[in-house]
């Protein structure tokens, strides 16, 4: 299982599922759903803050522990 926090900068894949239900509820209400395209834009603050682009539409900043709960495609 690959996590969104493990993506390389500029790498694009798709979201499969979420591990933390509370975070999932929040992410979904912000438009981040399973099957969404997710691209890692950059890692900031020594990899503790991660910037993603979702569905090629908008950018969002996540904490590393938040991104770790997002399961993505790929090995």
């Amino acid at each position: 299982m690959r996590k969104a926090s493990e993506l390389h900068p500029n790498e694009t894949t798709r979201i499969i599922s979420f591990e933390d239900l509370v975070i999932a509820g929040k992410l979904m209400s912000m438009g981040i759903l399973p099957h969404a395209r997710i691209e890692m834009v950059r890692r900031n603050a020594l990899g503790q803050t991660l910037i993603y682009r979702i569905n090629n539409r908008f950018k969002i900043a996540l904490r590393r522990d938040e991104a770790q709960t997002i399961i993505v495609e790929g090995i």
Binding site: L21, V22, I23, A24, G25, K26, L27, M28, S29, M30, G31, L33, P34, V41, R42, R43, N44, A45, L46, Q48, T49, I51, N55, N56, R57, F58, K59, I60, A61, L62, R63, E66
Partner: protein
């Protein structure tokens, strides 16, 4: 719902996600006819205004805080749900604002509000943006609600929106067909509570089941019953929320994909990416942030000084004018030294507040703030603060008051509280005159390693303040309990031009909030201080009565015979271990009005006419000897001790007043006062005992 028509104007609520342009639309529609209040229990601005639809038809417009869904994750976000589910007045109409370029992620809340049974208009904002094509008719057909394309910035579509609002208020259409189909379990539960939960729509009942724990308008019995029943039925609130959300998206996503066409990289995305490459760079990003802050700082010092001097000199002249025109007496003293001084103390902060919020507003409007917050989130979170706290801490270097007011958009209560508590440790501009006059006694002029020694000492004092603020935050993080989970999950919106109107209203509101919210307390404290400094138990106490007033010649007791003086002498045993005598005691008490009062008090004590004459004050201070021991008072040890005291101590009634306003209780300013003054005492004690 429309029985209100005859008594009060209809209520129209503006709802939408953060960054949907809701506030721009609100400012456009209401203009100066707006009022900012507070939601009960939290410090979230409640903005209402009047919208005139025709000569004799006005409606009340309420601008709800931006929200993503009816499932809030912080206390502040709960006001949106409370607005609809509690006993608050129900809206006659909802205008739902959505940014057209982000449409597919801004529709969730719309479908939820629709299911609550309200008539809704969808206002598609920013339709004038390049690279966006939208088929509003397809949305109208699918959601079965009127859709109006608008631009809050240029005013496109405003006429159509107003017409649609009038029309919907006269002939409200709300669909009875629920957008979300309940699961078997949800159906069973809502049917069970059909008559017990008063909210009319089934979706409102379902949300009450979800949020029973914190919805305070329902009775304790009902809450208990809901919780028991939920447990019995194994109702998993989060699971149910997620399947509801997914089911809603499943319905509207294909519709929006068909109705909306966005050019690749359009709607400002390309430019945003180009700017972000620099602004969000791990190294350059931080440099850019501090450059921006430096600029703001310069602006505050450079621009605020002129109006501040103007306010002070005008008020001073006004005082003189009053003294010249009326016979002297304690009433005139009260007006000039108490009332006018207090008023000056309020007005003098306005330039700093206005300038700081002007810049914060620009950063917020163009979309930079979200980036700054995400950059400093990790660092700040480790010590119990929030990414947004960095703005407050840096602004605290100018003045703690606007800095504390800027913490409002930290949605996690604990993080906001800690930010408020530690910001006054950062040395503000009012400490500079005190540092300037004292540093000369502590540090001789000269250079060390090519640096000016006194400058290094000044830097050290600032450094102590910063380190203490961060340490205090870390300690408070361990002490203050909070159940709220903290998240970042911050959307980074595309860069936009700031809207002038929004900036104007932000500055206006913040200034007004300070004057109205803190002004009263500042006035009362300055009157008390005036009383303490002007009256004493001695024979020169003025005689009461109107006859006596006319004949009374001003023979104010010397400061040392006043109550403040007596107090200063009374605390001498307490402050003696710090190396302070009663004169410093008086200055400490009077400094409570504001730190810079120290200089004026010294001038009064040493009977120096012009309190701007710093050299004379310093000469007098340097020659002053202890009356008992005959030793010089301002030795290195005493001066350092006093400097440290001013670094730590809470000596600003305006800060106390604003903390009271922002935390909605006297508890936190009291704790803050005790914490800071206690630390000041300990710090000074250690410094004096070590150095002497």
């Amino acid at each position: 719902m429309s029985q209100h028509r005859n008594t009060s104007p209809p209520l129209v609520i503006l709802a939408g996600n953060p960054n949907s342009g809701k506030s721009t639309l609100f400012n456009f529609l209401t203009g100066l006819n707006q009022h900012v209040g507070n939601y009960p229990g939290v410090t979230v601005d409640k903005k209402t205004g009047t919208l005139r639809l025709s000569a004799d038809f006005e409606v009340t417009l309420l601008d709800l805080p931006g929200a993503y869904s009816m499932y809030p994750s912080s206390k502040d976000e709960r006001v949106v749900v409370r607005q609809f589910l509690s006993d608050e007045r129900q809206p006659d109409l909802i205008v739902y604002v959505a940014d057209v370029s982000q449409l597919e992620k801004q529709i969730l809340l719309l479908t939820q509000l629709k299911d609550l049974g309200y008539p809704v208009i969808l206002a598609l904002n920013m339709v004038d943006m390049q690279g966006v094509t939208i088929h509003a008719d397809q949305l109208e057909e699918h959601f079965n609600i009127p859709v109006v394309p608008i631009s809050g910035k240029t005013g496109i579509g405003m006429m159509a929106l107003k017409l649609q609002i009038s029309h919907m208020l006269q002939e409200p259409v709300s669909s009875s067909d629920p957008y979300y189909k309940f699961s078997v379990q949800e159906k069973k539960l809502t049917t069970y509570f059909k008559d017990k939960i008063p909210y009319p729509s089934p979706y409102g009942k379902l949300l009450t089941l979800h949020h029973a724990e914190w919805l305070d308008h329902i009775s304790t019995d009902l809450r208990k019953e809901i919780q028991d029943k939920n447990k019995e039925e194994r109702f998993n609130s989060i699971q149910s929320q997620i399947s509801e959300t997914l089911s809603r998206y499943d319905r509207f996503t294909p519709v929006i994909r068909r109705a909306l066409h966005l050019d690749e990289g359009g709607a400002g995305m390309k430019i945003t990416d180009r700017i972000d490459r620099w602004v969000m760079h791990p190294v350059f990003g931080v440099v850019v942030f501090f450059l921006i802050m430096l600029l703001i700082f310069q602006a505050i010092f450079a621009w605020a000084a002129v109006p501040m001097d103007f306010i002070e000199s005008t008020m001073g002249q006004l005082g003189m004018l009053i003294r010249d025109s009326f016979p002297a007496g304690w009433i005139i003293d009260l007006i000039c030294d108490g009332l006018l001084a207090g008023l000056t103390g309020i007005l003098v902060f306005i330039p700093q507040i206005a300038i700081l919020f002007f810049f914060i507003g620009i950063l917020e409007e163009i979309g930079y703030m979200a980036r700054a917050v995400s950059m400093f989130d990790v660092m700040m979170r480790r010590i119990g603060l929030n990414g947004r706290s960095i703005v407050a801490l840096v602004s605290g270097g100018a003045c703690a008051i606007p800095a504390i007011m800027s913490t409002r958009n930290i949605s996690n209560w604990k993080e906001r509280l800690i930010t408020i508590m530690v910001t006054p440790f950062i040395s503000c501009s009012a400490r500079i005159p005190v540092y300037a006059i004292l540093i000369g006694f502590a540090v001789p002029q000269g250079r060390i390693f090519g640096f000016e020694q006194q400058g290094l000492a000044l830097m050290g004092l600032y450094g102590i303040g910063i380190v203490t603020a961060l340490l205090a935050a870390y300690i408070l993080k361990q002490v203050i309990k909070s159940a709220d989970r903290s998240f970042l999950m911050m959307e980074l919106p595309i860069y936009r031009q700031p809207v002038g109107k929004n900036l104007f209203f932000l500055v206006y509101e913040k200034t007004k909030a300070f004057v109205v919210g803190a002004g009263k307390i500042i006035l009362i404290i300055s009157l008390v201080l005036w009383f303490l400094a002007s009256f004493g138990p001695g024979p020169s106490v003025p005689v009461q009565g109107s006859d006596a007033l006319n004949t009374y010649t001003p023979s104010r007791p010397a400061l040392e015979d006043s109550y403040a003086g007596i107090l200063g002498k009374a605390i001498e045993p307490v402050i003696e271990p710090l190396g302070f005598d009663w004169k410093i005691g008086i200055a400490l008490i009077c400094s409570f009005a504001a730190r810079e009062v120290f200089v004026g008090t010294m001038a009064t004590i040493y009977s120096i006419e012009d309190d701007g004459d710093v050299t004379s004050i310093r000469t007098s201070m340097s020659q002053d000897r202890n009356s008992r021991t005959g030793e010089l008072i301002y030795t290195t040890a005493t001066t350092w001790s006093l400097l440290i005291f001013y670094v730590f101590a809470m000596q600003c009634m305006s800060t106390i007043a604003i903390v009271k306003r922002e935390t909605k209780s006297w508890k936190w300013p009291a704790i803050q006062f005790a914490m800071m003054t206690g630390l000041a005492y300990l710090g000074s004690l250690v410094v004096y005992q070590v150095l002497s």
